[in-house]
């Protein structure tokens, strides 16, 4: 069981406030949100399946931000596929709801609407699919929380339903990030940009790191010049 006396756990108590041990999270979870898409978030019982979130303060990238790992109430009925899919869907909805209502995340409404659109595309093709991989989405959410000064990325899904974010400029500068699922919070990234001394040639660099150190990993390659506001 989490120790509620420390800063490391966030508990969702129904529709009431959220408490980090001795600090409050200031994000506002509205009861009703207008949305133009078919899937109405206001009808999502978002907190119902969220038991707790662990919170790891980070000073490595952005002061005041932290990584979040969600623990879910284990109420899944393992005997029916329908229930498993249904619960997985709700987990995706919960995470999108978190993004939509996290004031620290710029473009939160556009991003969440885009994620819902992608989820709907995936479900339209295959109703039995996960829509969006929850591990990848959680990884993406953590990255957004740690990096609140980003330009809005282009977001698509791979065939595994993992999140693929891209920042591209008209000057042929590209920063691609694949948010991998799993507890490791790994991301695969690739940088493409013109070679500074030989513009006709292309500089390329890629690798795998955890999402919390992605920013400092790519910073020496000038990426921040075109992905930050």
């Amino acid at each position: 069981m989490p120790d509620l006396q420390t800063n490391n756990w966030l508990v969702i108590l129904g529709n009431s406030s959220k408490v980090y041990g001795n600090e409050f999270l200031s994000d506002y979870f509205p009861r009703v949100q207008a949305t133009s898409v078919a899937w109405h978030l206001e009808n999502v019982p978002s907190q119902q399946f969220l038991q707790s979130l662990s919170y790891t303060p980070s000073s490595a990238v952005n002061q005041g931000s932290g990584a979040v790992a969600i623990q879910w109430i284990d109420t899944d009925d393992p005997f029916t596929k329908f229930d498993l899919i249904d619960n997985e869907d709700r987990r995706v909805q919960d995470l999108i709801f978190l993004i939509r209502t996290s004031l620290a995340i710029p473009y939160r409404e556009i991003l969440s609407t885009r994620l819902i659109t992608l989820f709907c595309y995936a479900k339209e093709e295959d109703p039995d699919s996960v829509g969006i991989d929850t591990g990848s989405l959680l990884n993406f959410y953590n990255f957004l929380r740690l990096n609140t000064d980003l330009k809005r990325p282009s977001i698509t899904l791979t065939s595994d339903y993992t999140i693929y974010a891209s920042w591209e400029t008209e000057h042929k500068q590209v920063f691609d990030v694949l948010f991998l699922p799993g507890k490791d919070m790994d991301v695969r990234f690739a940088i493409f940009k013109p070679n500074d001394r030989h513009p006709e040639k292309e500089f390329r660099f890629s690798g795998t790191v955890t999402s919390d150190v992605l920013r400092e990993t790519v910073a020496p390659h000038g990426v921040l010049d075109w992905i930050l506001e």
């Binding site: 885009r114 992608l118 595309y121 995936a122 339209e124 093709e125 295959d126 282009s154 977001i155 698509t156 899904l157 791979t158 065939s159 595994d160 693929y164 891209s166 590209v174 691609d176 990030v177 694949l178 991998l180 695969r188 990234f189 690739a190 493409f192 292309e202 390329r204 890629s206 795998t208």
Partner: protein
């Protein structure tokens, strides 16, 4: 025949799903294989369709896709040149990746082929493949 290497001068098409497209632009996620499921990236060999024009090849592909896939309203078909893809990836990838594009016919899709030697996290390669797609060679997957 299954396993035949496609000629460098031929063309392949990749079905790009709506979730791999934003603002009408195909993204590299369309060229990523699934982890644990795919040993190759599915494509279709155009020349084996024996059509007389690209227009007819695309029409034939639309028929094939309509029978075997759910084709979303914004899905697209990206046409690639076999030799160009292989050359680009070999010359530009960090590990000088040698892709193989082989015929892999299926019962309901005799033109089905695959791009081999890809991994689920090869985003650099996916971007390189996308760079070989010419803007004039992207078509709606639905009529």
């Amino acid at each position: 025949m299954k396993g035949d290497i496609l000629p460098n001068e031929d063309h392949i098409a990749r079905f790009c799903r709506p979730m791999q497209i934003e603002d009408g632009q195909i993204k590299p996620s369309a060229f990523i294989v699934r982890k644990d499921y795919d040993d190759s990236l599915s494509v279709n060999w155009l020349e084996i369709l024996n059509c007389l024009s690209r227009e007819k090849e695309i029409a034939a592909l639309r028929n094939i896709y309509a029978k075997k896939l759910y084709v979303g309203a914004t899905a697209k078909i990206a046409v690639l040149h076999v030799g160009e893809v292989i050359k680009k990836v070999f010359e530009a990838s960090v590990d000088s990746r040698v892709l193989e594009i082989k015929h892999n016919p299926e019962n309901n899709d005799l033109s089905h082929s695959g791009i081999y030697n890809l991994k689920y996290d090869d985003i650099e390669i996916a971007r390189l493949i996308l760079q070989t797609v010419h803007k004039t060679e992207i078509y709606p997957a639905r009529q």
